[in-house]
């Protein structure tokens, strides 16, 4: 193929964007980073920490998939396996997925997208980073001390009576939750108060809407989780028996309290991903979104209705039939909002001028996998079917389709999409396209067999299993290693390109969204001079020249 590996969409010269001071990356030395107030630097620090957690959680997964190659013992005993799946869940949910897009890309991009010079509370932002580090250290310390084997859901009374080191783990999760709350407060206050002149609510980029909706959940749901896991920790240490029937407690009450947070938590994990997609599709289709309002308001809809559906994790736990029915129908409602977004994204491709770059390829992966995962979500919300599927590999496959096929894919898409803006360089497009394809294939190979395993009746959290399921497990393990390797390669591409990548212009994708009005990488105060915002972020009717002329009038 003779076409260049990368088609630069923008031929706009650098000079159209006014000259600037050194970028945010330069200067200050180590202390200039550790003691920074700059949201961009804080985002980059989160990037390093969160990626490290991703690699850690992923390694746990790869190890446990190795164990599952044979029906009985392969490389470890049952106790170790039970710990590994617990740690995989804890690290991936709290130390990777929840902070991932908001704390990295939200931090970096959101202030620029609203035309602000920083977030509302820069020191709180730095604090949220250190609190996250501290919480992660406590959790990992707990794991090193032997950790826990309760599953990331800590169901009682098992979590109260298991002889393991529960308290440091749950206390660390509580601390990480504090970091999340700080982040949420910062984003909400910033969106309300710091939008530049001309950036009305309906002129904000859609990514901001999704981060805003996510932040509502962060602020309101996280405290309940903090409380529940802390209570489990107290029960474990002092045998308070709050959720132990032997002391008069009710174990199902814990499940209510836990899932009241943890269900909205999954929306914390997917809403930012949807926000990323809502930026990528208009940019690469070079067209305004088919319906701005649909995407913006469905984000709020998901955040709010998401608080009402937690009981669908407990259809067979002993709730009354009526309660189960109400939770079932409400769970269906939430799917409607996701469907609205999906249709809008696809409609945005219609009559576009589509350039096929790595972020868009990740969008395709996302589209298929998220829809698949979302529709299986509707399926498990169907109560009689959930009786069969609950606590089997079907549910495991469903949530991995959303969290990995959805959130992680979108995370990689964001990593590639905003890479030029964050680092001023371009990555290798060939490697990018290859990795996006390999990630998709590896993912499907890992998790599609798991739907079939669930249908066949294989329960989750099983160290040993009936031998007739083995070949499906072997497929899944092969896929998992391919997936792991592809993700590492994708990240490797980005790291190598930091040094060897071609320099990027202010707007390599020819996007109309506001963050592309500033140089790549941006100066410390985001804009050399504050641009004039007299248009929306998706005005693709305007030509490039007009966009910059209007932003920086002479």
């Amino acid at each position: 193929m003779s076409a260049p590996a990368y088609r630069e969409q923008s031929s706009i010269p650098l000079e159209a964007v006014p000259p600037t001071e050194p970028s945010y990356l330069d200067g200050g030395g180590l202390m200039g980073w550790l003691n920074t107030r700059d949201h961009k630097r804080i985002g980059i620090m989160f990037y390093g920490a969160v990626l490290a957690m991703f690699v850690l959680g992923g390694s746990f997964a790869l190890l446990l998939r190795l164990e599952l190659l044979t029906p009985d013992r392969t490389i470890m005993d049952a106790n170790t396996y039970n710990r590994l799946f617990t740690w995989h869940g804890i690290v991936m949910v709290w130390l990777f997925l929840i902070p991932s897009i908001p704390n990295i890309f939200g931090n970096f991009v959101l202030p620029i997208q609203i035309g602000a010079r920083d977030l509302a509370f820069p020191r709180l932002n730095l604090a949220s980073f250190y609190v996250y580090l501290a919480g992660s250290a406590i959790v990992l310390g707990g794991l090193v001390l032997g950790g826990t084997d309760t599953g990331w859901t800590f169901y009682t009374p098992y979590s109260e009576t298991t002889p393991d080191r529960l308290f440091p783990v749950v206390f660390g999760i509580f601390v990480v939750g504090v970091s999340s709350i700080f982040t949420g407060i910062n984003f909400i206050a910033s969106v309300h108060m710091l939008r530049a002149k001309g950036v009305h609510w309906r002129r904000m980029p859609l990514f901001v809407w999704s981060i805003y909706a996510t932040s509502i959940i962060l602020v309101l749901a996280t405290p309940v989780l903090g409380l529940s896991v802390l209570l489990v920790g107290l029960d474990h240490v002092f045998h308070l028996g709050l959720f132990n029937p032997a002391s008069g407690g009710d174990p199902v009450l814990f499940q209510h309290l836990f899932w009241f947070y943890s269900h909205p938590a999954v929306y914390i994990m997917i809403l930012p991903a949807m926000g990323v997609i809502s930026e990528i599709v208009p940019t690469f289709a070079h067209r305004r979104p088919a319906s701005y309002n649909a995407i913006a308001f469905s984000a709020l809809g998901i955040a709010l209705v998401g608080f009402l559906t937690w009981g669908h994790h407990m259809f067979v736990a002993g709730m009354s039939t009526i309660d189960s029915g109400i939770f079932g129908i409400l769970s269906m409602f939430v799917a409607i909002f996701s469907a609205i977004k999906t249709f809008t994204w696809v409609a945005t491709l219609y009559r576009g001028d589509i350039s096929f770059n790595t972020p868009l390829l990740y969008f395709f992966g996302f589209l298929f996998l998220f829809m698949f995962g979302g529709m299986t979500g509707v399926a498990v919300a169907t109560q009689s079917l959930d009786v069969h599927w609950h606590d089997t590999y079907f549910v495991v496959a469903h949530f991995h389709f959303i969290m990995v096929g959805g959130s992680v894919t979108a995370f990689l898409a964001a990593a590639h999409y905003w890479y030029p803006k964050m680092f001023g360089r371009l990555y290798s497009e060939r490697v990018g396209l290859l990795c996006a394809t390999a990630v998709f294939i590896g993912f499907v190979l890992t998790f599609l067999p798991q739907f079939l395993l669930g249908n066949a009746g294989m329960p989750r959290r099983y160290y040993s299993y009936p031998p007739e399921y083995q070949w499906l497990h072997v497929l899944a393990t092969g896929g998992a290693w391919l997936l792991g390797f592809s993700v590492l390669l994708a990240v490797g591409n980005l790291i190598v390109s930091l040094r060897y990548g071609r320099r990027a212009t202010a707007n390599p994708w020819d996007s109309r969204s506001y963050e592309w009005l500033t140089p790549s990488p941006p100066p410390p105060h985001n804009f050399p001079e504050t641009p004039v915002f007299d248009r929306g972020p998706y005005d693709y009717e305007l030509s490039q020249e007009e966009v910059y002329a209007r932003a920086y009038p002479r």
């Binding site: 084997d149 305004r288 088919a290 395709f364 829809m371 069969h388």
Partner: protein
């Protein structure tokens, strides 16, 4: 349709409700599959049709993209919503039938503990890990746990329910044909969670009778069951023994006469008025709870004097006592009941209160 079942890796349909659940399953999965592939396909087509054919010029303007008409959006959403509600409706209806047993079930008590299943039959037998049931007859399981939450899962029946300590959950099924069907624990419960497995063995009616006669000496791996010699007392008879042994009969009569505690005669499934208001049906769960925590839902008119038997009674003895109380369901019509005027104790089939009846307090 069996082809579809095998394609989706679903196990055999061995209970009466499995078939209709699978029909809903096929409907949901096939339609959602079709939707996903359709939309992905449409996107792929758009990507090809509308691909960028040349780099854009810096001064190039583009026409604004069309917005789909509002009626199309609303129509699509409404259609999807109707579909979801339909699925929910069918699923909910099936769920209600799954969780509410018919009245003429054969009841088996299930006690889960790390890491085994114990079954106690009304006839007095008990087995470990193997549940014997008659085919084509509704079977109800009354399940509780000795320690942590477990979950009773039989894939071939499409049946699952959590087994929680401190409570009774009941599920029911009707096995359609004789066979052995896996039981798996489906709620993580510790080291050997994945090995906490068993089997439901559905037998023909005559085979099942023979099993009962053999007094629980069924399959292998049954160390706690009685040896295969006859005259194993029935569960309710063993309940009478337990009642005498633990002193229940010191406060509870079996013939309707009032005493320190409520009489057992006619107590099972009677509506019992409670100390702090309201009423409750004295089912197996209430009776068990009252043995473990007597003051929790105290019967009105009786003092809080009953001790707790938590830790004293073995689960087998608990079920035996419940069966014994159950067997005292129909008082003989001729039994004269002397009830004091100030006590209300509704007993089915009892003659009305005699206004002059007096009873000195015990």
């Amino acid at each position: 349709m069996d082809f579809l079942r095998k394609l989706l890796f679903l196990p055999e349909q061995a209970s009466t409700i499995a078939k209709e659940i699978d029909w809903l399953h096929y409907s949901v999965i096939l339609i959602t599959f079709a939707g996903v592939f359709l939309i992905t396909g449409v996107s792929a087509v758009f990507c090809i049709l509308y691909r960028s054919r040349r780099p854009r010029r810096p001064d190039e303007r583009r026409p604004p993209g069309p917005t789909p008409p509002l009626w199309a959006e609303i129509g699509l959403i409404a259609g999807l919503f109707a579909l979801f509600v339909a699925w929910w409706g069918v699923g909910f209806w099936q769920y209600v039938r799954l969780t509410e047993p018919p009245s003429d079930t054969y009841d088996v008590y299930v006690s889960a503990k790390q890491w085994m299943w114990k079954f106690a039959y009304p006839s007095g037998s008990h087995t470990i890990n193997t549940l014997y049931v008659p085919e084509q007859r509704p079977v109800k399981l009354l399940m509780t746990s000795r320690d942590v939450i477990h979950s009773f899962f039989v894939p071939e029946f499409r049946l699952k329910f959590d087994v929680v300590p401190g409570r009774y959950h009941s599920v029911w099924f009707t096995a359609t044909k004789p066979g052995a069907y896996k039981i798996l624990c489906a709620e993580y419960c510790g080291t050997d969670h994945s090995r906490m497995r068993g089997e439901v063995v559905a037998l023909t009616a005559s085979d099942f009778d023979r099993f009962l006669e053999q007094d629980g000496g069924g399959g292998p791996g049954d160390p706690e069951s009685m040896s295969a010699n006859a005259s194993e007392p029935s569960l309710s008879l063993r309940g009478q023994t337990a009642a005498a042994k633990y002193g229940c009969l010191r406060c509870h009569s079996v013939d309707g006469s009032p005493h320190i505690g409520p009489t057992f005669l006619g107590l099972f499934n009677a509506r019992v008025p409670l100390e702090h208001g309201g009423e409750i049906v004295a089912d197996a769960a209430y009776l068990t709870e009252s043995m473990m925590d007597p003051q929790l839902k105290l019967h009105r008119g009786y003092g809080p004097v009953m001790p707790s038997y938590l830790g004293y009674l073995q689960p087998g003895e608990v079920s035996a006592l419940v069966e014994m109380i159950k067997s005292l369901r129909h008082p003989p019509a001729s039994a004269p009941l002397q009830l004091p005027a100030n006590r209300t104790f509704p007993i089915p089939d009892a003659p009305p209160l005699r206004p002059n009846a007096q009873e000195s307090s015990p």
